[in-house]
């Protein structure tokens, strides 16, 4: 049974319909990558799953199960207990995720102390242990330092330590390595991968980098204008993308290996999410758009098992 199961998630903020029917399912110990460009709603989906939304947000869903629990009946107090203890989140910028006036160790210890009721001393010891586990050399000394004394890579490790301090079963990482150098990124990604396999942690990895996805995830979901347009096993989708948007994304990315070929940008801009979109949101930018595309929302097709794509091309192909 899957750890997290969400069906038909919708998010409105003000007059903007930002998430437009997202289905997600993550298994324990598995990494699901959510890929999309800025404004596609991938970060908002993550914040919705943490119930960390502005007051004028309206969240709707048909089903929402987390570890067998129906999340419809969880109130704010319940959410406060769930966050950190069961679901944790890592943000893009580690500098703003930490309080600049508190030492790293105390910040981690505070989370432990708050959620597990351990004494401050043992919480601090656990914090140092976690920092050490996350590959911070000389952890006891680092724990006594303030965020500005640490480099970005170390801070992001500290943030991850804080996130996993109470042993959550789901970790949501929103572009955790975008702000980091490539060598540091590789190590942080490896750490996350280890956490997944060692502790059976479910990981929702939000990123725009298909390379990161390839290294990290077994499952992949591609988001465009608030909908998941294609999902499936990472290997299958990246080898044989079924949606024109996924293909366009791949064609736009320069690669380090192989022959250098000319890059294909995607013309146009993403749609205005305050308007109603009847058909496929990508249709105005799609090179293969057909008459039906802007008029009717494509249903999900499965070109091969384990791959799901919302595109009328597959109806035509049938």
């Amino acid at each position: 049974m899957s750890l997290l199961q969400v069906r038909d998630l919708h998010l409105h903020i003000g007059d903007q319909h930002l998430v437009r029917g997202v289905d997600l399912s993550i298994d324990a110990g598995e990494c699901l990558a959510l890929v999309g460009e800025s404004g596609s709603g991938k970060s908002l989906t993550a914040l919705s799953l943490m119930q960390l939304l502005p007051s004028n947000a309206r969240l709707e869903h048909r089903e929402w199960l987390f570890a067998g629990q129906d999340m419809r009946f969880v109130d704010e107090a319940g959410w406060r207990k769930l966050r950190a203890r069961r679901i944790a989140m890592v943000f893009q910028n580690p500098m703003t995720a930490l309080n600049p006036t508190m030492t790293i160790g105390r910040q981690i210890a505070e989370v432990i102390n708050l959620h597990t009721g351990k004494s401050r001393r043992s919480a601090l010891a656990r914090a140092v242990e976690l920092l050490d586990r996350l590959g911070i050399v000389n952890a006891p000394r680092r724990a006594r330092q303030y965020p500005f004394e640490l480099s970005g890579g170390m801070l992001q490790r500290a943030v991850i330590a804080m996130a996993v301090a109470c042993g959550p079963s789901l970790l949501i990482a929103d572009e955790p390595t975008t702000a980091l150098d490539v060598t540091v990124q590789a190590e942080v990604l490896m750490l996350l991968r280890e956490l997944c396999s060692d502790e059976g942690l479910g990981l929702l990895l939000i990123t725009h980098d298909l390379g990161v996805v390839k290294d990290m995830a077994r499952q992949l979901a591609v988001m465009y204008a608030g909908r998941i347009v294609e999902s499936g096993s990472c290997e299958q989708v990246l080898r044989d993308p079924a949606h024109p948007y996924t293909r366009a994304l791949q064609a736009a990315m320069p690669s380090l290996g192989g022959e250098a070929q000319s890059l294909q940008g995607i013309a146009g801009t993403p749609p205005d999410l305050s308007r109603q979109i009847d058909g496929c949101a990508f249709a105005p930018r799609c090179p293969q758009a057909m008459n039906i595309c802007p008029r009717r929302l494509p249903p999900a097709f499965s070109p091969v098992p384990e791959q799901r794509v919302e595109c009328w091309l597959w109806e035509q192909a049938r």
Binding site: D181, E187, S262
Partner: protein, 307 residues
Amino acid sequence: MSLLEIDRLTCRFGEVTAVDEVSLSVNEGELLGLVGESGSGKSTLGRAICGLVPPSQGRIRFAGRPLPERFTASTFRRQAALVQMVFQDAYSAMNPRMTLLDSLREPLLLQGKQCGKESRLALDWLDRIGLPRRFAMRYPHELSGGQRQRLGIARAFITEPKLVICDEPVSALDVSVQAQIINLLQNLQRDTGVAMLFIAHDLAVVRHLAERTAVMYHGRVVELGGRDLFARPRHPYTRALVAANPGAGGELMESRSLLPPAATGCAYRKRCPYAASVCEASVPKLITDEADRQVACHRLEDIDKLR
């Protein structure tokens, strides 16, 4: 013939040495890539070439003529026809209180060579970067990130400089937009024959664009090579960079990326798996390893044997 020659350039800010004895040259019409992690001094090098950062030592020669010692408004004005810059942050690259037309016209007006034809030239450039002319009277905040970066590029190219320094022009952009900007830069370079110094941290982007690439670490160029640089990296740091590139599928080379650069000897030695006592003793010089490849590593031959 080389357009830009940098000879043992050093830039210090107090105690910090951002650029340390860098020697590089850019040929006319060439696109030189410059990669490195944050803090490697690549941006400082770019700014020093423009005159925005005063060099502490060494010299920069432009088409055979040395750069002036001190930059004032008038030297910048003279220099404007030679070198221009495209900035990373497309959001702050335009004055939010100026219309696009004013922003585009500004360098021409300051140069004062066009006498009255500035507006026409600015509108021509709007066409060239693929923005509708009716955008001329709009303000930067009404544009998307990609459109803003197009304008930043137009502003750099409008004075027809010989060299354009692109300081991470696509790092903040989405993949699809990034591809458009890269294509635009490529087309412009082809059409105008301008030389470019393309600074980036994304190896794939640089590989896609650059004929030659320099890899910087801690203020020094550690490796310089042609198009095969990333296919056959020689310096341990370049190897680590290539291996760490996501999706490359390579085995991770180092697990000590958090260690700070060493203060003496080879700056990379603390992270380097091949470090030996010789690395501690002296700073390795950039030496020609093979045809169009220069590497600064004491242990180059030993590494070849080890692998």
